[in-house]
Amino acid sequence: MIRPIRAELRGSSARTIAVLLFVVAGLFTAGMVRTWWHQWLMFGYVEASLMFLVVPLALAGGTTLGRREKRTRAAELMASTGRPLWQRVTPVMSALGVAVAAAHLLLVGVCAALIGATGGWLGAAGFPSVLVDTALLVGAVWAGFALGRRWSSALLPPALAAAALAAQYAASAAHQPTPLVNLSLMVQFQQFPWEGPTAAAELGRLALAAGLIVGGALLASAASWRRHGAAAAALAAGVAGLLLIPPPTDSRRYQIEPSAQALTCAAGIPQVCVTAVHAYALPGIVPQARRALAALAKLPNAPTRAAEFQPPAVGDGSSDQFQGNAPRTDPSTVRFLLQPDWRTGADPHLADDIAFGAGTRWNGCAQDDEAARAAAGAWLLGTDELHVFDGTFDYWASVGHQATAILRTLRKQPEQEQLRRVTALRDAANRCAKELTPILTGQPREAS
């Protein structure tokens, strides 16, 4: 069997199909490099979403090869040979599966090597999904191959690819939380880089992969209608699994990977710690964090340690999720949210972020009265501006003029009074107080 498989690998279009899929997947992955650079679990999202495009292409590629016997008129000769049909299709299906799986694993391997080589976190958590998606690709080429053997029309490959894309596109437009949304292989990205897919999300895709593999193998290797019926049932079961097993809401498709979220600390004092997925960025951010800690040290009972914020739950995309009315304070530690540059790993506004609200930004409270918080941060850092970002949005753009006025009023006070007011703001913020401006200015807050 090895000899015919080798012949198929050398002489069939299996390698061409694999190369095509590799190129398309490579371009897609390269186009999203900002998302996954240094980030293994975010790469998992890119790799999973890639299936939206490459599974239809794999279906079409398999169909093209499935048409080969009839297109080349070799079917006549093959039909006169003694091997059972399942044996006759085994070499070409094996070659197709091996080539496609190798191409996909090569792409994943290259990206994993890049992530590892640049100091990114690599964990076992992301590998099951890679294997599931590899099986999905093999299932797609096999199912396409089987369909191409049955119906050898030249229109079938593009029609199948278009239908698969259209079905996914229509499904993705469905309103959540209908299970139909699961039909799209394009997944929503996770909110934090320490979130990996849940077992249920992976099982749904695995069900589809199994349905495609079993259905494709049965359809390609048997001529009886009973077997064809079994193939259709396997395929239907796979699609049903994809629809029904994963939860229909995005936030339930991810879970926190504890090893990815665990803290790693830089050597030296004061201690600066980040989650494992951001460990690569430590050298760049330690000076900024220590500058902020030094600024906070002006206040009594200042924190002696800065640590990256570790949300207790999977992110739902809302900035209010972890900022409500229940303070979670640890007097010795100031928390920060790291948003490093994808290429350098640096977070140029980290000191501003930590100093914002005198170190209270990630204390579990809603961030009302941003102008006062920004003014307190600028006062601590001895600057006139403070740039804190909520995603791409810079607070200073909207509250800068108010903060400047507050800062000017504050700085007119005696030095001890300035210190007292900023300390009072910190303590009030840690109680989730909403009105902070009067604490700094000694006057009621003006309506904005």
Partner: protein, 257 residues
Amino acid sequence: MTPTIHARDVETSGLRVKAGRHLAVDGLDLSLGAGVHGLLGPNGAGKTTLIRALATVVRPAGGTLRLFGHDATRGRDLRGVRGRLGYLPQHFGYYPRFTVRDYVEYVAWLREMPATAIPAATQRAIERVHLADRADAKLKSLSGGMLRRAGIAQAIVNEPPLLLLDEPTVGLDPEQRVEFRALLRELGGGSCVLVSTHLVEDVVAACSDIVLLDRGGLVFQGGPADLTRLGESGVGVGDSPAERGYSHLLRQHRGRS
């Protein structure tokens, strides 16, 4: 499957085979043993349909078809029968990006030859059709004549007791045809070789037996000398005695029916 000692390689009785809806072979009684049998007949005589039935590619619509003493219409006997066949279809289908060697080896595997015997058998078959220097060339790069020789190589790789060649000389130049005739004579020494062709001279030169079909029925079965003798008696039309004998037999048959 052990062949029955006294069975002929091919035995048909009242064989009927359809080509689409048309009954292309109609009530054929035929018995073939070792030797080279030339299958002659005009277009539409049923030559290709008969060969396809013998190759077990189409199922007969009626009558009996026995190959090596086994009922070739019974599913459970087919596998053993097919392993002892060699077949070059009229339209030789091939995978263009396979090399000659890969394709011949592939067919040898499909014919269920022992894995250890395949490389040597492949080399021997390729050498017998004088393609050794192109063994590692891709099939798509070969000329029409070379492709035909590659087709013959795959058909003989398992040294089949029954070799079915449908128009094997199409595309061969005169020198290659002469070489092919010699190969046929060599193959016919121990096997039953059935060659369908329009070229009466090839049949006379290389075959030990002639089967003439017309409209799905048997017109004549005998030696080449019988055909030539008939032509030399001045009947029929054609450039050679064999051609004249061929045309005379057809006219005679059509006149009767």
